[in-house]
């Protein structure tokens, strides 16, 4: 058990009364409530927290926020395992189990650090060059090792037992960032009367104020405004919530984390889509590193991070501290650390020092060297000494902590997500958001002004403007002042490094200044090429700390200004997002909504093997008929053609079409005519698209002069309804027609087979089932148990068949009744596989033939529209291309080789063809025909070779099969349709 020997006995925003036990790389350690994992590790004296990506160099914690490039850990075990999490952004929780990454066997002794010796072979773009020979196959050999070495963390492979949620939220004003600017904006917007959502990624509000002393004026200001906000009912504060992207419609994407391992009945992460009317961006700024030889050693960290570890977490990260800087801000870190008793030296690259801060520093015995920069660092697993280069020459100083500050980069990611390019400002040598669109406002250091007083004022103004944008303009009293005396930012440019050791620009991707020079030499100068060739900025931190230095370096090489060099595009997510969080509860059986027919429970209870058909659950086959689908469907086919079968067809699309102009309307939307359909009759109809291609088929029944009952295919039901509504709303608004979906109103079943009439008569006593009363395509009304039934005599299977429609709530009752009544005739239920097989035997086209590429003529249905015009698709279906002689048309095929089967999707060739490419056509649907004792199928085959009686070759490359097949009529069974009539 470590003793937190780097922890100060008092101060900080941790609760020493609530210790927390956790484990890191198998060691049990202690921290406190209020720690991050990173601060707890530092408190325990653990300065080695990772190994770099390519070279496996030892690395320590570099920052105190989500911009962390080095200290990436894997949290949790088993299915809960989550890799690549920055330790700096993890709130410490009891029982947390964390492991470092990218090292074997251990962090302290990592075999792959030997990669460092191969560094010359591993520079930027190495896999494009170094490993391409000596033979072509060599790459496949090297790739195996390179791939295994790639990546940082390892993903989990077990099922994640945790719960994730998706939520929807709304606000007038959303504020991204809970630092002084964001807090001030929230307050102002709330007083102005807006509904405010304040979003902060940390578990504490305060932003940069948390780097200040926890008992000073900044802390008091923070506490006061937090209390004020808590008392305002129209403010919702979202802590531990990262706004990872902004999307159209002012939708902010938020992820809230709960990393407590002892989560019970609570979501691990919640993804919220927050729709705001106005957005204030107060995302702050990220400190820049300095670039010099070996600048990546453990013990090097950002100056503001060192200050945060000291003031917020009461950890003294070093005793002998070197602060290297180009700007004033780092002086405050030096001053605070010196006041705690550390030995501090400041190396300021500038020759002119800030008078007030320098004086204050000297009062604390801080040695200051002006015009001085770090040339190199000594130390492997921990920094030991720094080589300085200054006006007096070179020198060396011992140190155990090096705090660096190369200036600040405003966090412009979120503002860029909607395509607003950041613009460069010479006066602060950095990028700020470009022109923000209406409804978007910016405040604080994100706008390039690094002063707390400015942030508070700017935030206040932004809050008022944002609220006004939403029409809320009540008076908002000015905020309390807080002036920490920061000066306007100066734009001193960091002096580039000149040492011989590796000088890192992107720590996470192990990109050095030499890599940038290499890219430039090889012509990869544009910033987009630079990024992709060197992989700079492509890590999980998206180059938050490294991008600017890299851009500056490339600009210098190209001898251009930074704006001329440009910047790459920031895209969401700002930080990595777990896919589970985006899915929320839409996993497993909730992945899509499940649609059940009224007879669903009966199917499940009676041995149906249920199949997902789009959103519907349908019976695939019934286990009574066979052990698997191949056995069962044949048995079910035999039953239907030999006796009778009952099939649940409730999934069909059904549309009520009514109105004085309904008949005219149907004449226009169907390729065949409907206006003259007699009342009480049904007709098969085909609809085309405007381009002449077949859209859908179905059956429409005329119930009265002005009223029709339309059915569509299951798959196209929604599309057909939308199409009809489109035509009525936009093309023919003068037609008085109402179309309404009644798909769920009706349970529907198809009773088919030679015994179907007998069953019908037995089930519905009193119903006249004679051929005269109920002929083929006729309609009858009946009743059962007080419920009205509609019976349409039409057939999909080619047997005599009746479709029985009844209100959905009576579906199961009628279904059971029909089965009971039909049992003596051999009636039983049959499934979707047999349904499909039966229609193939009859040459009925369905989805596989109506695939969005076929016309009426292709499908042999040209006669339906032979004498008609004026319907949707009529004109373009006649275009010359559709009449070409080699256009693929519907044919029937039967297997010409005893015992060999045909396969759907097989490609067709004629004897003499070279068997390659797309051939002459393809098989679209296939079934075994018990009646014919062989495999038969429907196919689309080039018209100029589709001669009945001749043979084709059906090849199925995926199984290396070729079968000879004979072209026959597609109506395999009962070619004259005698079974349908009489």
């Amino acid at each position: 058990m470590n003793s937190n020997d780097r922890r100060l006995p008092a101060g900080g925003r941790i609760d020493r009364m609530r210790p927390i036990g956790f484990s890191f790389d198998g060691r049990t350690l202690n921290g406190y409530q209020g720690d991050t994992l990173a601060s707890a590790l530092l408190a325990n004296g653990i300065t080695l927290t990772g190994r770099s990506f390519k070279y496996h160099r030892p690395r320590g914690t570099f920052s105190a926020g989500p911009e962390e490039p080095n200290a990436l850990v894997t949290l949790g075990t088993g299915g809960r395992r989550e890799p690549n999490l920055p330790a700096t952004a993890l709130e410490l929780a009891q029982g947390m189990i964390a492991e470092s990454q990218n090292r074997w066997p251990s962090l302290g002794f990592d075999l792959q650090s030997i990669n460092g010796l191969f560094a010359p072979f591993l520079s930027a773009g190495f896999y494009y060059k170094t490993f391409m020979g000596p033979t072509r196959r060599a790459w496949m050999f090297y790739e195996h090792f390179i791939r295994r070495a790639a990546g940082l963390g390892r993903a989990g492979t077990e099922r994640d037992p945790d719960r994730y949620e998706v939520r929807h939220a709304f606000a007038d004003v959303a504020i991204a960032g809970g630092g002084p600017a964001g807090l001030s904006a929230a307050r102002a917007a709330a007083y102005a009367g807006a509904d405010v959502a304040l979003i902060e990624q940390d578990f504490l509000l305060g932003g940069q104020l948390l780097s200040e002393r926890s008992d000073g004026e900044a802390a008091a200001w923070l506490k006061a405004i937090e209390t004020e906000l808590a008392g305002l009912p129209n403010v919702t504060v979202w802590r531990r919530t990262m706004a990872f992207g902004i999307y159209d419609g002012n939708t902010l994407a938020l992820i809230e984390r709960n990393d407590d391992p002892v989560v019970q009945g609570v979501a691990r992460q919640v993804f919220t889509m927050l729709r705001a009317r106005a957005v204030v961006f107060a995302a702050g700024a990220i400190e820049r590193p300095l670039v010099f030889s070996n600048n990546d050693r453990p013990g090097v960290m950002l100056a503001s991070a060192a200050r945060t570890y000291f003031n917020r977490f009461a950890v003294l990260p070093g005793k002998n501290i070197l602060v290297a800087t180009t700007n004033d801000g780092a002086y405050r870190a030096a001053i605070d650390l010196a006041a705690a008793g550390a030995q501090v030296t400041i190396a300021d690259q500038r020759s002119t020092l800030p008078a007030g801060l320098a004086a204050e520093a000297r009062r604390l015995n801080i040695a200051i060297r002006s015009g001085t920069q770090i040339a190199d660092l000594r130390g492997g697993h921990a920094v030991k000494a720094a080589k300085l280069a200054g006006p007096g020459g070179n020198s060396e100083i011992a140190c155990d902590l090096v705090c660096v500050s190369g200036g600040w980069s405003p966090t412009v990611h979120l503002t860029s997500h909607l395509g607003v390019k950041p613009v460069y400002r010479d006066d602060m040598n950095g990028f700020v958001p470009g022109g923000l669109p209406a409804g978007h406002f910016g405040a604080g250091s994100m706008m390039g002004r690094y002063s707390t007083a400015d942030a508070i004022d700017g935030g206040h103004r932004a809050g008022i403007e944002a609220a006004a944008f939403c029409g809320k303009s009540a008076a908002a009293p000015a905020p309390a002042r807080l002036d920490l005396g920061e000066a306007a930012t100066d734009a001193f440019r960091a002096i580039p490094s000149t040492g011989r050791g590796k000088a890192f620009v992107d720590f996470q991707m192990d990109v050095t200044t030499k890599d940038i020079e290499l890219a430039h030499r090889e012509g990869y100068e544009s910033v987009e090429h630079l990024k992709r060739y060197t992989t700079l900025g492509m890590g999980t931190d998206q180059g938050k700390t490294g991008n600017f230095a890299a851009l500056s370096a490339m600009a210098a090489l190209r001898q251009e200004t930074i704006p001329q060099t440009g910047t790459t595009t920031f895209r969401p997510p700002y930080a990595p997002v777990a896919i589970g969080a985006l899915a929320g509860r839409a996993v497993g059986h909730h992945f899509k909504p499940i649609r059940r027919t009224p007879m669903h429970d009966w199917h499940v209870a009676n041995g149906a093997d249920m199949l997902e058909v789009g959103l519907w659950m349908r019976p695939y086959f019934y286990r009574a008929a066979g052990r698997d689908v191949n056995e069962a469907y044949v048995a079910e086919m035999r039953m239907v053609r030999g006796a009778a079968g009952l099939m649940d067809i409730s999934t069909l699309g059904k549309i009520d079409v009514q109105g004085p102009d309904a008949a005219i309307f149907l004449d226009r939307v169907y390729a065949n005519g409907f206006a003259k359909l007699p009342v009480g009759r049904a007709r098969y109809g085909v609809m085309l698209r405007d381009d002449g291609i077949v859209f859908d088929d179905g059956t429409t029944t005329r119930l009265s002069e002005n009223r029709f009952f339309m059915t569509t295919s299951t798959a196209k039901a929604a599309d057909v309804l939308s199409r009809l509504e489109f035509l009525l709303d936009t093309a023919w608004p003068e037609l008085r027609v109402a179309v309404t979906s009644v798909s769920d109103e009706w349970a529907a079943m198809s009773l088919a087979g030679p015994k179907s009439r007998d069953v019908l008569a037995a089930a519905f006593l009193g119903l006249d089932v004679s051929n005269d009363a109920l002929p083929h395509m006729g309609v009858a009304e009946a009743e059962f148990d007080g419920r009205a039934l509609r019976i349409i005599r039409l057939s999909y299977s080619g047997e005599r068949a009746y479709e029985i429609y009844v209100g959905a709530t009576a579906g199961e009752t009628v279904w059971r009744h029909v089965l009971e009544a039909g049992a003596t005739f051999g009636l039983n239920s049959y499934g979707v596989e047999a349904l499909g097989a039966l229609r193939v035997e009859k040459g009925h086209v369905a989805g596989p033939e109506i695939d969005g590429r076929t016309t009426l003529d292709d499908l042999g249905l040209g006669r339906m529209a032979a004498k008609r015009t004026g319907f949707v698709g009529d004109v373009l279906r006649r275009r010359p291309a559709f009449q070409a002689p080699n256009r693929q048309r519907l044919v029937g095929l039967e297997s010409a080789e005893e015992g060999k089967r045909l396969r759907g999707g097989a490609i067709l060739f004629i004897p003499g063809d070279i068997v390659t490419g797309h051939g002459r056509g393809r098989i679209t649907s296939v079934t075994f025909s018990p009646e014919l004792g062989r495999y038969v199928g429907l196919a689309l085959l080039a018209g100029d070779v589709a001669v009945e009686g001749s043979e084709v070759l059906a090849t199925y490359p995926m199984k290396a099969e070729t079968v000879r097949a004979r072209i026959v009529s597609p109506v395999f069974v009962d070619p004259k349709g005698e079974r349908l009539h009489g």
Binding site: P593, P733, A808
Partner: protein, 180 residues
């Protein structure tokens, strides 16, 4: 048919939902509305989302020219006689199920199902709105501050009830609860 899920701060019950839809033709709307309101004996809701109550029937305007007469589960379904020159009607009594939701957590639970700003005028008690719930079109009737009915297509009812029950069975994270 009524099935219930109940906990101390959330209840869901299901019932049948007889509906009669009436629609007026574009160009005859004023006459249609006059005729319909005379036949029903009450003024019709004016805009989409407005409702009017008549005994145990709720009248909802669901689109500019279309109204739903939504009845209690066992009510007699009226057969409105609409002049075919003015409009038409169709029964939608079998194809929908009504979920009745109430309890302190209703709005919070539904925020994981549908995207609606509960504070907006369009979602206030007495109003109705149509929206999408996990890819399924639903009609929501806001019946009180902490209650609403949701009318869902019957084929999806089991799946959606499952989703709501799943939503309700776990509390949200302390982070969200402790937001303020």
């Amino acid at each position: 048919m009524a099935e219930a899920l109940a906990s101390k701060d959330f209840t869901l019950s299901r019932s049948d939902c007889p509906i009669v839809q009436i629609e007026g033709w574009d160009g005859m709307l004023a006459q249609f509305e006059l005729s319909a309101s005379q036949m029903l004996g009450t003024a019709l809701p004016v805009s989409v989302g407005d409702t009017a109550r008549l005994a145990d029937t709720l009248i909802v305007r669901v689109s500019p020219r279309r109204l739903w007469l939504i009845m209690e589960a066992d009510a007699e379904t009226p057969q409105p006689a609409i002049d075919p020159e003015l409009g038409c009607s169709v029964h939608l009594g079998e194809g929908r199920v009504r979920f009745s939701l109430s309890g302190a957590r209703v709005l919070e639970i539904l925020s994981g199902c549908i995207a609606v700003d509960w504070r907006s005028p369009g979602a206030a008690p007495g109003r109705a709105f149509q929206t999408v719930f996990h890819h399924v079109p639903v009609l929501v009737l806001r019946t009180s501050e902490t209650g609403c009915d949701m009318i869902v297509p019957r084929s999806f009812a089991h799946s959606l009830a499952d989703w709501v029950a799943d939503s309700a069975s776990k509390r949200s994270s302390p982070g969200i609860k402790a937001r303020n």
